[in-house]
């Protein structure tokens, strides 16, 4: 049975909806978790009001890494936007490239070659593996198991080697551009990738034994941070956060894009919707992505065109229109809303990152009544990346 706190001793909301907290009473204390804090995912902070070791209010603060991407893009031609979109998300930049490229292609009426679709799917699954590996390390670290992060960082580095030989870059790949992809697979790529995938599977088995079967990890994560089913739609919960509650939301299955309709996989589901289940759904999702990478490498055509010939990109004007493109990234639904006005520049680009809802309104609601020591664990379990919030 989950711990039920006595709310009667806590402050009540005033007429403006804000809690009436009298700090001078000595009953409450303000604590800032972040922006520089090992328990915070990236550059954001949570302003906690605590009573004893229990949180009575948590207010998120963002703005520490606002670079105004959406505004910057309005001053750049469509092709000039392509190298900056990936900077919106460090651990999984490829979804920005894919969603932006697909939105431009749709509004410009461009069809990309089949081979490019396979390579795009490969890149996205490789990025998903990387993102999950970072997550597993972070989740373990938030509960005091720092060594797991070192293991996953090691195998993530092997995957970065594969990214480097395919795209020439380790973090920001700038590989998926409007019209297709920049290059085809290098010779012997599949064999080297198989070696990396085997290493990842081996490490994930070790992680499973050391972390997921660990009594301390279970004690701290089972039954903590439960997202109720009725919050799913009202708070726009997507991805593994929703799937851990048994809600089968996976864009790859619901609205298959690229080549996902030709791949065999099922949406990974959980039941309990707590921190442990969310971490387990992500672990199984990671292993599924390993399988998907193998499937893609077997099923994709051995050769073919990878790029559509574009008009002169310096004078590329796209007719007036608007569209929304979504994909299933490691954290949930990632989308680009693009509006064009017939000129050589986008009229408006809006990035819909899953963290926008998960780390703001949902986190603020879920953080109440939590123990201070579990705040970091909850935040990591929502898998939030602050750059998506402030773009």
């Amino acid at each position: 049975m989950a711990y039920q706190p006595d709310r009667s001793q806590y402050p009540q909301p005033g007429s403006d909806g804000k809690l009436d907290i009298d700090l001078k009473s000595g009953k409450y204390l303000k604590l800032w978790q972040g922006p520089q804090h090992p328990g915070i995912t990236g550059n954001m902070s949570v302003e906690l009001t605590v009573c004893g070791d229990e949180v009575v209010e948590g207010i998120t603060h963002v703005g520490y890494l606002h670079r105004g991407f959406e505004k910057l893009m309005e001053r750049r031609t469509f092709i000039q936007c392509f190298p900056i979109v990936c900077r919106i998300c460090v651990p999984e930049p490829d979804f920005n490239e894919y969603c932006y490229a697909a939105a431009v292609e749709e509004l410009a009426g461009i069809e990309i070659p089949q081979q490019a679709k396979w390579i795009r799917a490969l890149i996205l699954e490789m990025g998903r593996i990387n993102s999950y590996l970072m997550y597993v390390g972070g989740q373990a670290g938030s509960f005091g198991m720092g060594v797991i992060g070192q293991w996953t960082t090691y195998v993530r580095d092997l995957m970065l080697d594969r990214f480097e030989e395919l795209t020439g870059a380790r973090i920001y790949h700038m590989f998926i551009l409007p019209g297709g992809v920049r290059d085809s697979l290098p010779e012997g790529f599949a064999q080297r990738m198989e070696g990396t995938l085997c290493e990842i599977e081996k490490t994930m088995q070790d992680v499973y034994d050391a972390m997921y079967c660990n009594a301390v990890y279970k004690k701290r994560s089972v039954g903590v941070g439960v997202i109720d089913l009725d919050l799913m739609d009202s708070y726009g919960v997507t991805g593994p956060n929703a799937r851990a509650a048994g809600v089968a939301k996976d864009v790859r299955k619901d609205q298959p894009y690229l080549v996902y309709s030709e791949l065999e996989f099922e949406a990974i589901l959980g039941v309990d919707s707590d921190i442990y289940t969310r971490s387990d759904v992500r672990r199984r999702d990671l292993l599924q992505s390993v399988d998907l990478v193998r499937q893609i490498l077997v099923k994709m055509p051995k050769e073919g065109s990878i790029m559509t010939k574009l008009p002169n990109v310096l004078h590329w004007k796209i007719p007036r229109g608007e569209t929304y493109i979504r994909g299933e990234c490691s954290r949930g639904e990632y989308g680009y809303y693009l509006v064009t006005d017939g000129s050589a520049y986008p009229r408006r680009v809006n990035v819909r990152g899953p963290s926008y809802t998960h780390a703001m309104s949902l986190l603020e609601r879920m953080i109440v009544n939590l123990n201070i020591a579990d705040v970091a664990g909850l935040m990591v379990s929502l898998h939030t990346y602050p750059p998506e919030i402030e773009r």
Binding site: R75, S234, N312, R347, R348
Partner: protein, 177 residues
């Protein structure tokens, strides 16, 4: 999407329909029709997921376009509701009681576009910017280049290449126009 549009049109006064894809359509509606239509789509038609809420600045026409993108997961369909509001004293009704998560979007729109959503929780609190004293920065008439030139200094001795000219030389060295 045509079927749904015809069905809705019997109950609500709807504007232009743009079918972007089989699974995505945009409908223009009047400002005061938003709430009943959103509630109907959410409760009756299954469009229960608010994907995003954002604004587009049509400066030349003096209007803001608010786009409410909602999704029906079961049917795998999306509808974007376009509401055109005046740029002068831009205000819009809050929908945080329909989707609590909308409060975050509205807070951002208040700060970045200067669109007010009265009664939306903490709508006037700083979101991303702190101590901003200029016009809302995502409006089209806010000039980012002018702002950065006036407020920030260039590092001495640094050469800046014109990106457009550089791309022209790299991509079309034979001088294609």
């Amino acid at each position: 999407m045509q079927d749904l549009y015809k069905k809705l049109k019997k109950q609500f006064s709807l504007g232009e329909l743009t079918e972007q894809r089989d699974d995505l359509a945009f409908i223009t509606i009047e400002k005061d029709k938003l709430r009943p239509l959103l509630t109907h789509l959410r409760d009756v038609e299954g469009y229960s997921h608010l994907v995003l809420l954002t604004a587009v600045d049509w400066l030349e026409e003096g209007i803001f376009q608010l786009t409410y993108l909602i999704s029906n997961r079961t049917a795998a369909k999306d509808i974007g509701l376009r509401v055109m509001i005046s740029r002068d004293k831009a205000t819009m009704e809050s929908i945080h009681d329909i989707w609590p998560t909308a409060a975050t979007y509205q807070r951002e729109l208040r700060e970045m576009f200067g669109i007010d959503f009265p009664d939306s929780p903490r709508v006037n609190d700083d979101f991303i910017l702190e101590g901003w004293n200029n016009i809302p920065p995502y409006r089209r008439d806010f000039d980012t280049l002018k702002y950065s030139t006036e407020n920030f200094a260039q590092r001495p001795g640094r050469e800046t290449k014109d990106p457009a000219e550089h791309m022209k030389q790299q991509l079309y060295p034979d001088g294609a126009e």
